[in-house]
């Protein structure tokens, strides 16, 4: 084992050698420096490995032949080994990235860089507080020097602000140190810890000065203008190293010095948490308003520092898990933030919008996506597991306020990172300049991305819960990424086979409840994938993300623990986000989808956290036995799931997201994806049905939400000109019915719910596939631009006809089954008022459904559609397979409903349906699927024949039978009956169509942006103002911490 002292010796030795020898070539000096950093990395990682294997004990390294407190000593423990390894590893990659940038400044730049890394190593390892001060100063001086490798005035200004701010901070530290020495007679950190300085009033001031200096090194909001400027102004290659390596060292300084301030749970913990919370939320809030990429990264970095400070302050709550949480957050930040800064250095786009150029090289988009998702804490990255562990622990210890702080801050970060990513994926790319690929700059980033994925896997395997997660679907996603260069047909086949095989292996293990949803997800997924054969070319990036969504969906079905469920949930969210953003005009809708999803996921996370209180093991069954705050737990879970089902108030993302998506994506995200939310609701309601608490108020509220959603969704659908948006609004309405039905919490109610789930899956998939395929043929979403397509697309017409009959709930198709059960359940439950609303909503559904078939297929064919063909056979196959499903479910509903009833009887044993053959009896009456179907068919045929006979002489209307007055309307579509078709109806219900919810969310968004815009003006750019901030921060904190206690 090489002693860590050689880290210092090697850096100094080589540094002096390069200086003394002088004549060495620049590149040679550079390579020598890199080798030295490599050696430093080797030493620290050797120690890390020894600790990891477990045959190593923490070791003190003494210097100068004396023992402390006379001399300085270093400590190499597992934490030090890990942190120095990380610093040196990032430093090594940074050295490669910056190799030629240093070279331009001469060989001394390499020396300074080496000394900079060495000083961070010592800062981490040292146990002597004065030594700590010295090496903090060395690192500050080195940093100020290295900032200048970036040319231009901005770097010089930033460097000056930095050096003067750090000088003030270290002055404070030095005063604190000397007072601490004065009262204790030692400079050794361990000695200071034992001296219990903070127990005396005067010692308390020494502690205050030391702690405030350590806190200020972490760039707390708002005394951090200088830090922001350094991240923004210096070379992005170096900003990365400062933002993560220095930050890591600063974190550890705070960690070490916190021991001096007092034991776990002392007052300083609370202050740290408070300052961390202010920084985390403040930085991320101001980031929301930011338009420039570099500065945005700076805000994000400081937000992460705040999070680390917050976590450290919450160590009382985290207990033994502190290290795990810190490790997860730290390692994600290390790899992702470094990579992001370096990426910014390559892309060189200034504003967020200009980042659209990045997708010219799709691999870069993949890199950026990895960083964004890692920073937000999506699986499989380490931060995901850290966040989960943190929330579980905080909830268990009653730290609910802190959970809110962490989730709100993370959400703010999600806003700007996903907006940025949206620009990159879908923003307008109208920029002339391009960016170059240089291998020495790309390689470090690629290494970091690989490390990020691997670290995520390792983090998951570290805990028992994490080891239970099934990574096979995720691995399949990676395979699909790797074969993305293949043509679409090959990838489609592989995807279908993969999903089929997986389904074949897992379905025997599923109970009936899960089987229903799994069939919808997997079989439905395969059916919609078949439509993919209609596409030509490569369809880059489609299959990995589609399978990512299905991997998430099957993940939530197979989940045994809350962690697995949340893991699957987040994968599904990520995959569906990518699917949605593929649409042509999807950028804003994908963003709002993502933000609602992230917020919903956080609600679920918090709900799981509360559910977990007092439980031995976080299996998914804890939802059936929530012991504390059940209303909160179920309420949060339900809110989370309702964001996915797009219930009223949380629905504004859906119309755009589903309407603008690609033709085969719309059915995936509508017919299939929405059921994930339903599955969650079902799980929560099962738990509520088993709970010992009275949760009827919650169910009652849920019922109202469902009824209102049905009403507003359907009204919204009536006034759409866009066929896909019409279907999207219709989904909102249908999901409202489903939520309402489940909220009834009786056997009939649930039977209704499941019937609607199956129905909605079948007919919405049919309708979206058909309309999507038509859109592919005619090139427009607007219904008034279509018409008369019945002759061109008879198969599509028939599919839509069956689809709308089923959806409208008239006999003979399965929609009527749902309606019949629905009214039975409502009457039995006695929810008459809500029932009337739902019935009214059902009437409105006729309006939009009629419009769908009338304006697309009937009337006059448009001139430009004279040559359109029937929709693609690859769409017709899944459509007609699903139609068969509808017909079977309509004529023989007992095949499905009987076993379903038995399953539901586990939860609600009473008042179910009673079956005799194909006759179903409730206590209100009876009904038979086949009988109704037969009756209606007979009536239809008779009426049809009669009509045919009576209208034999009718004149067939041709296009040129139309006579008009020679006036040429300015907007010709306004003369079309299909345009604004229900204007009359609009006059009756317009108050219900006022987009109050949209206005509310717009207002919220404006509020956040305006607040951010106002607060960020404190960063005036004046270095002196920043120093004033630091001093004021110290004074205010003095009053908060010590105040009048002296």
């Amino acid at each position: 084992m090489v002693s860590p002292i050689y880290i210092v010796a090697a850096a100094l030795g080589v540094g002096f050698a390069i200086g003394v020898l002088g004549k060495l070539g620049k590149n040679f000096s550079g390579i020598l420096a890199l080798l030295t950093i490599g050696f430093m990395t080797f030493v620290s990682s050797e120690w890390l490995y020894a600790f990891y294997v477990g045959n190593q004990v923490p070791t003190y390294i003494f210097t100068a032949g004396f023992k402390p407190p006379i001399s300085i000593n270093l400590l190499m423990g597992p934490k030090e080994a890990f942190l120095t390894t990380m610093v040196n590893f990032i430093g090594l990659l940074g050295g490669i990235y910056l190799f030629f940038n240093f070279g331009r400044k001469g060989r001394n730049a390499y020396v300074v860089y080496m000394v900079f890394l060495m000083s961070l190593n010592v800062v981490i390892m040292t146990r002597d507080i004065f030594n700590l001060f010295v090496f903090l100063e060395i690192s500050a001086i080195a940093t100020a020097g290295l900032i200048l490798i970036e040319r231009g005035n901005r770097a010089v200004g930033a460097g000056f602000k930095y050096i003067i701010a750090t000088s003030i901070i270290s002055s404070i530290l030095l005063i604190g140190i000397i007072f601490a020495y004065f009262y204790t007679g030692t400079l050794n950190i361990d000695g200071l810890v034992q001296a219990h300085l903070s127990t005396t009033a005067t010692g308390g001031i020494a502690v205050f000065l030391i702690m405030i200096a350590a806190v200020l090194e972490m760039k707390p909001f708002p005394a951090n203008g200088w830090g922001l400027d350094v991240y923004e102004g210096s070379h992005q290659g170096f900003s990365a190293v400062v933002s993560v390596a220095t930050a890591t060292a600063s974190y550890y300084v705070l960690y070490k010095l916190l021991a001096i301030a007092g034991p776990v749970g002392s007052q300083w913990d609370y202050y740290l948490a408070l300052m961390g919370a202010v920084t985390f939320i403040g930085s991320n809030l101001l980031g929301v308003k930011q338009k420039f990429a570099r500065r945005l990264l700076a805000y994000s970095s400081i937000g992460q520092l705040g999070l680390l400070m917050l976590i450290l302050g919450l160590r009382k709550y985290l207990g033994d898990n502190l290290d795990y949480v810190v490790l997860g957050i730290l390692i994600t930040n290390l790899f992702a933030k470094t990579g992001f800064f370096w990426l910014a250095g390559i892309v060189k786009a200034k504003t967020l919008k200009e980042w659209a150029i990045i997708r010219r090289k799709p691999f870069f988009l993949f890199l950026m996506g990895t960083f964004v998702f890692a920073l937000i804490g999506f699986p499989p990255f380490p931060s995901f597991f850290a966040k989960w562990t943190m929330v579980m622990n905080l909830a268990r210890q009653g730290g609910f306020g802190w959970i809110a702080v962490i989730l709100i801050g993370s959400f703010l970060e999600a806003i700007y990172l996903f907006r940025w990513f949206g620009y990159a994926v879908k923003g307008e790319d109208t920029y002339k300049y391009d960016f170059n690929i240089r291998w020495h700059k790309i390689t470090p980033i690629v290494i970091l991305v690989a490390a990020l994925y691997y670290a995520g896997y390792l983090t998951s395997q570290y805990t028992e819960l994490g080891r239970m997660i099934d990574f096979i679907p995720l691995f399949f996603v990676l395979v699909l990424f790797a074969i993305d260069f293949l043509p679409v047909a090959v990838k489609n086949t592989i995807a279908i086979l993969g999903m089929g095989t997986y389904f074949y292996f897992i379905y025997p293990d599923l109970d009936n409840l899960r089987l229903i949803f799994e069939v919808i997800f997997m079989v439905g997924g395969i059916l919609t994938l078949i439509a993919g054969y209609a596409y030509k070319g490569k369809r880059s990036g489609f299959y990995p993300v589609a399978i990512l969504m299905y991997a998430g969906l099957t993940g939530i079905i197979q989940a045994h623990t809350t962690l697995e469920f949340f893991f699957g949930w987040e994968l599904m969210t990520a995959g569906s986000y990518f699917l949605i953003i593929r649409g042509k005009r999807s950028m804003p809708h994908a963003l709002s989808y993502m933000l609602f999803s992230v917020a919903g996921a956080y609600a679920i996370l918090a709900g799981f956290g509360i559910a977990n209180i007092g439980q031995a093991f976080p299996s998914l069954d804890i939802m059936n036995n929530i012991q504390y705050f059940p209303n909160w737990a179920y309420g949060l879970l339900l809110i989370g799931f309702l964001t996915k089902t797009a219930s009223v108030g949380l629905h504004i993302w859906l119309p755009g997201a589903h309407g603008e998506a690609e033709s085969d994506v719309s059915p995936m995200v509508s017919a299939i994806l929405l059921k994930a939310g339903v599955f969650g609701i079902v799980l929560a309601l099962i738990g509520m049905s088993k709970s010992d608490f009275d949760l009827s108020a919650l169910a009652y509220t849920l019922g109202w939400i469902g009824a209102l959603t049905a009403l507003f969704g359907n009204i919204g659908a009536v006034f759409q000109e866009d066929a896909k948006r019409l279907l999207a609004y219709s989904s909102i309405g249908q999901l409202g019915y489903i939520v309402f039905a489940f909220a009834i919490m009786t056997q009939l109610g649930w039977l209704t719910g499941f019937t609607y789930v199956i129905n909605h899956f079948l007919y919405k998939a049919v309708l979206f596939l058909t309309v999507g395929a038509i859109v592919l043929r005619v090139g427009t979403h607007n219904m008034y631009e279509m018409g008369g397509l019945i002759k061109k697309m008879p198969w599509a017409f028939f599919a839509v006809l069956i689809g709308i009959i089923a959806l409208s709930g008239v006999p003979p198709l399965s929609g009527f089954t749902g309606k019949w059960l629905f009214y039975n359940a409502i009457i039995e439950k006695g929810w008459y008022f809500q029932g009337v609303i739902a019935m009214f909503a059902g009437g409105i559904a006729f309006l939009y459904l009629y419009r769908l078939i009338q304006t697309i297929f009937l009337g006059q064919l448009k001139d430009n559609h004279r040559n359109v063909k029937e929709i693609s056979i690859w769409f017709l196959i899944p459509i007609y397979t699903l139609l068969t499903g509808i017909l079977v479910f309509s004529y023989e509903p007992q095949w499905v409903l009987k076993p379903l009833g038995n399953m539901i009887a586990q939860y609600f044993p009473n008042n179910g349906l009673h079956w005799e053959g194909s006759y179903a009896y409730s206590h209100l009456g009876y009904w038979t699927g086949a009988g109704v179907a037969a009756t209606v068919s007979v009536v239809f045929v008779i009426a049809f024949i009669l009509l045919k006979i009576m209208t034999r002489k009718a004149h067939k209307l041709e296009q040129f039978d139309i006579v008009f007055s020679g006036e040429r309307p300015e907007r010709p579509e306004t003369t079309h009956i299909a345009y604004n078709m229900y204007a009359g109806f609009y006059k009756a219900v317009w108050p219900l169509t006022v987009p109050l919810v949209e206005r509310f969310w717009t207002w919220m968004s404006d509020l956040v942006h305006e607040t951010a815009g106002f607060v960020r003006r404190i960063y005036s750019g004046n270095g002196q103002a920043y120093m004033l901030h630091i001093i004021l921060y110290i004074i205010i904190l003095y009053f908060i911490t010590i105040g009048g206690n002296i």
Binding site: V156, I164, L187, E232, G1023, Q1024
Partner: protein
């Protein structure tokens, strides 16, 4: 005269210097003056370190003729605390380095905009 012993005087002076330093840093607009204020602050801290280590009636911790080295005489009782003395040396060196760097930056800043007013260097903000 009890109030005017050496340790107390130097302590008061050190705090005065620190306060003057902070005042200068916050109030002066000229970068050179800010740097000078910073060195005043530094000096104040150095004096503070020394005066906290001062013990009445003792001499510098240099073992030479001024420290009697009789057999029954513990050297440690004749000298002031040596650690602050060592610290102050280090602090002076660091202060020197930082000041040099600040002056170098001042040069760069002047070259960039032909002015030393700190208000003029606010390219990075918000």
């Amino acid at each position: 005269m009890e109030y005017l012993q050496l340790g107390r005087i130097s302590l008061i002076i050190s705090f005065l210097l620190i306060i003057i330093g902070f005042w200068g840093i916050l109030s002066q607009k000229n970068i050179i003056k800010i740097i000078v204020s910073f060195t005043i602050l530094d000096t104040g801290i150095n004096v503070l370190i020394v005066s906290l280590g001062y013990l009445k009636g003792r001499t510098a911790p240099i073992i030479d003729a001024s420290v009697s080295q009789g057999p029954n005489h513990n050297v440690l009782n004749a000298i002031v605390d040596p650690v602050p003395q060592a610290l102050v040396l280090t602090a002076i060196v660091i202060g020197f380095g930082v000041t040099a760097l600040l002056l170098a930056y001042a040069m760069k800043l002047f070259k960039a905009k032909r002015t030393l007013e700190i208000n003029q260097f606010n390219d990075l903000k918000w």
